[in-house]
Amino acid sequence: MTTSRVRAVAAFGAMLAALGAEGCSDGDALATDAGAFADRGTLVDNGAAPDSGATASDVTIRFAAKVGDAPFRCGATFEGVGTTGGQWRPTDFRFYVHDLRVVTAAGEAPVTLRQDGRWQHESVALLDFEDRSGQCANGTTDTNAQVVGTLPAGTTGPITALRFRLGVPFALNHANSATAPSPLNLSTLWWNWQGGYKFARIDGQVANAMNPMATDWYIHVGSTGCDGTAMGGVTRCAEPNRVEVELAGFDPARNTVVADLGRLLSGSDVRVSAGAPGCMSGLADPECPAVLRGFGITVAGTPGAQNFFRVE
C-alpha cells in the first residue's frame, strides 16, 4: 500500500473543508496545459451572461447507452459480454462529462451549459441511464441522456466533431462534495477513498454457466494517487484519469454519442475478478488496465485506445 498516512483523511477532508484547490493543478493539467486552462475559461464564461446580441445558439448533445448494439436498460440481461461471453445484468450506468466543445471550420467553440440546478453545474453534466428499476436498486429514478447549452455568438458552419472530457474538472472534483450543488451531491458518486467523484460508475452482476451465482463487477473511474493535507487541499493527483474524447463526424442535429459498455469490456473477462470486484481504478487491480485503456487512459506507459464512446 503506497497511500500516505494522511492522504485518505485529507481526501475525505476535502469534503469537509471549503474549496481547497484554488490555483492548483494536477498531473492532467501539467500534461496538457492548454486543456487545463481551457477548462478555466469555460468556467468563467459560464458565469458571464451571453452577449446581449442574442446570437448565441442553443445546442443539445444527445447521448445513449448501449451494450453492443442493444440499448441499455436496467432489468435487462445482456449476453455475450467480454472475452468469454458473460451475462451482464446492470446495476448502474452513470458518468460525468465536462468541457464540451464543438468543432467547425472556424475551429473549436465551447458549449456553455444551461445551469439547471439538476443535471448540469458550471461546465459539468451528469449522464444517467439507470432508473432504479430492476437490479439498479440503489440508483435514482430520474434519468438524463442529454447535455443542453449554447454555442457562442458567431458560431457558424457545419459542426464536424465533438470534444469533451470524461469526469469532473479538477477544481470541482476536489471541492467539498457535501456542500456541492446537484449533480455533484449524489453520495453514490462520491469517490470517498481518494476524494472527488466517480467519473463513471457502471456496475453490473455477472452470471454464466461456470459461475451461476451472480457476482458483482464494478467499473469506477476517478482520480487516484491524490495528495493533500489535513485541511483537504488536494493539489495534484498522480493519475487524474480525466479523459479527453474527440468524436469526429459528430453533428448535434443528426448524431448521438453512444456510450457502449459492450465495446468497453471487449477485452475483459468479466467471469473473473481478482482483488476488488471489477475495476475501481486501483493500479494493482488486474482487471483495470483493459478497462481504463478502453476509456482512453494511459496505463503503465501504454496509451489507451478509447472505445467506450462512438458516434451514431
Binding site: 500500500m1 498516512r5 477532508g13 473543508a17 436498486a137 457535501a178 450543488p181 453520495s187 457476482t215 458483482d216
Partner: protein, 387 residues
C-alpha cells in the same frame, strides 16, 4: 430567573415521581431555554426540511420536551428518549428494542445523530422518508407496540393540554393554529428537535479541520484502511454522514440505498430470519431479501450491540463479519454461510487484517465518537429520566 428555575426543578421532580422514576440529578437539569439550531456545521450542507414544517426555535424546544415526555406512551412508562438515549448517541444499548408494553421489537434502535440528513429512516423501509411521518410509527404502531398510543391519541393530547408548560409552548410553536394540540403538531415538533441532533465534532472532524493532534497515529492508519479499496468500508459508509442514504437542501434527486451484507443465509438461497427480512418486508420483492440501510458510523463505539438485530456484540465482531465476507453460523436455527449469500453486496468480499491493523481500524471508528454531542445539555432529557 432563580425562582423559575426552582419551579422547573420542582415540576421535574413531581413529574418524575408521578412516572415512578424517582432520582433526578440536578446537574442534568438543562438550561431554561436551550438554543437548538439546525444550522449546518462546517463542511455540512443545509438540511432539507419538510415543506409544511419550517424550523422555529420554539418548535425545537417543544419537540425536546415531547421527545422525552413519558405521557406520550399509552401507559406513561416510555418516551422516544427511552430507546434513543443521548449518552448512547440516541440508541439504547439493547440488541433489539423493547416497547412500553414489554413487546419486543425485531430490530434495534438506530442512532439519531444527524438524522435530519438521512434520506431513508429506520432500518429497511424505502418509503419512510420524513421524520414527521416516521415519528408516528413508534407513537402509534401496533406491530410491534412501541409507545402504544394507537386509539388513545385524545387521551394523550389531553394529558399534554393539562400541562401548564405545554399551554405556553404549543401556541408559541404553532402560532397560527386555533388548536395547536394535535398529533400532527406533536410529530412536527419532535421532528424539528431531531433535526437539531447534529454530530460533527468528533476527533475525525477536528482532524479534518486541521487539528493534526486530534487523531492518534493508530486512528490515522485506521482511517487509511477504512477508506481503502482493500476493506471497501467507505462505499456504503462514506460521506459526511457515514452512510449512503443522505439528503440535503441541495439534493435534486432522491438517493437511498440498501445492502445485503451476508449476515445470514439460512437456506443457501440468501434467506434471512423470517421476522427480519429487510426491504423485502416492504416491497415483497425476493431480491430485496436481507437488504438494510447502512447506518451512520458516527458515534459507533457507543452504540453496541451492532447490526439491525444487535446480533454482533462488539466492533471486533463486526470486523470479523466483514473480514469473512459474511458471517457463518455453524449450527442452530440460524445456521448458514453468509459469505455465500447470493444476494450479498459485492463490496462485502472479505479481507485479512493483522492484529495491529485491526486495532487501527477500531481506533479510527472510536475517533468518530463526538463526546460533546453525547453530553450536550441542549439535547438532554429535561425531565431527567434518560441518561
Amino acid at each position: 430567573m432563580k425562582s423559575s428555575r426552582l419551579r422547573r426543578a420542582l415540576v421535574t421532580v413531581l413529574l418524575s415521581a408521578a412516572a415512578g422514576c424517582g432520582d433526578v440529578d440536578p446537574v442534568v437539569a438543562p438550561e431554561a431555554e436551550p438554543l437548538l439550531t439546525i444550522e449546518a456545521p462546517p463542511g455540512f450542507p443545509a438540511q432539507r426540511l419538510s415543506p409544511d414544517n419550517p424550523y422555529s426555535l420554539e418548535k425545537a424546544r417543544l419537540g425536546r420536551y415531547l421527545f422525552y415526555d413519558r405521557r406520550l406512551s399509552g401507559n406513561e412508562t416510555q418516551s422516544c428518549g427511552s430507546c434513543h438515549q443521548q449518552s448512547r448517541a440516541f440508541t439504547d444499548g439493547r440488541a433489539t428494542g423493547l416497547g412500553s408494553t414489554r413487546e419486543a421489537h425485531p430490530r434495534g434502535a438506530m442512532s439519531l445523530a444527524n438524522v435530519g440528513y438521512f434520506s431513508a429512516l429506520t432500518w429497511a423501509n424505502p418509503v419512510q422518508r420524513e421524520l414527521e411521518r416516521q415519528a408516528l410509527v413508534p407513537l402509534f404502531g401496533e406491530g410491534p407496540v412501541e409507545l402504544g398510543l394507537a386509539g388513545r391519541e385524545s387521551e394523550a393530547l389531553d394529558r399534554l393540554r393539562r400541562d401548564r408548560r405545554y399551554q405556553q409552548m404549543f401556541p408559541r410553536a404553532f402560532p397560527g393554529d386555533a388548536e395547536p394540540f394535535t398529533v400532527a403538531n406533536v410529530a412536527r415538533a419532535i421532528a424539528i428537535f431531531e433535526r437539531t441532533l447534529v454530530s460533527a465534532d468528533s476527533p475525525f472532524d477536528r482532524f479534518a479541520r486541521g487539528d493534526t493532534r486530534a487523531m492518534s497515529e493508530s486512528a490515522r492508519r485506521g482511517n487509511d484502511l477504512f477508506f481503502s479499496e482493500r476493506l471497501e468500508c467507505f462505499h456504503c459508509h462514506g460521506g459526511y454522514a457515514f452512510t449512503d442514504s443522505v439528503v440535503s437542501a441541495s439534493s435534486a434527486f432522491d438517493e437511498t440505498a440498501f445492502h445485503n451484507t451476508g449476515l445470514y443465509n439460512l437456506d443457501a438461497q440468501g434467506a434471512y430470519p423470517a421476522h427480519n427480512t429487510g426491504v423485502r418486508e416492504i416491497t415483497g420483492r425476493p431480491e430485496d431479501m436481507g437488504r438494510f440501510r447502512a447506518p451512520t458510523l458516527r458515534n459507533i463505539a457507543v452504540t453496541a450491540p451492532y447490526m439491525h438485530d444487535g446480533s454482533i456484540a462488539t466492533l471486533d465482531g463486526v470486523l470479523d463479519h466483514y473480514a469473512a465476507g459474511g458471517r457463518t453460523i455453524a449450527s442452530g436455527p440460524l445456521a448458514g454461510v453468509g459469505r455465500d449469500n447470493p444476494l450479498k453486496s459485492g463490496f462485502v468480499s472479505g479481507f485479512a487484517l493483522t492484529p495491529q491493523e485491526r486495532r487501527d481500524v477500531i481506533a479510527f471508528l472510536e475517533a468518530l465518537t463526538d463526546d460533546r454531542f453525547l453530553r450536550d445539555p441542549r439535547f438532554a432529557d429535561p425531565f431527567g429520566n434518560e441518561p
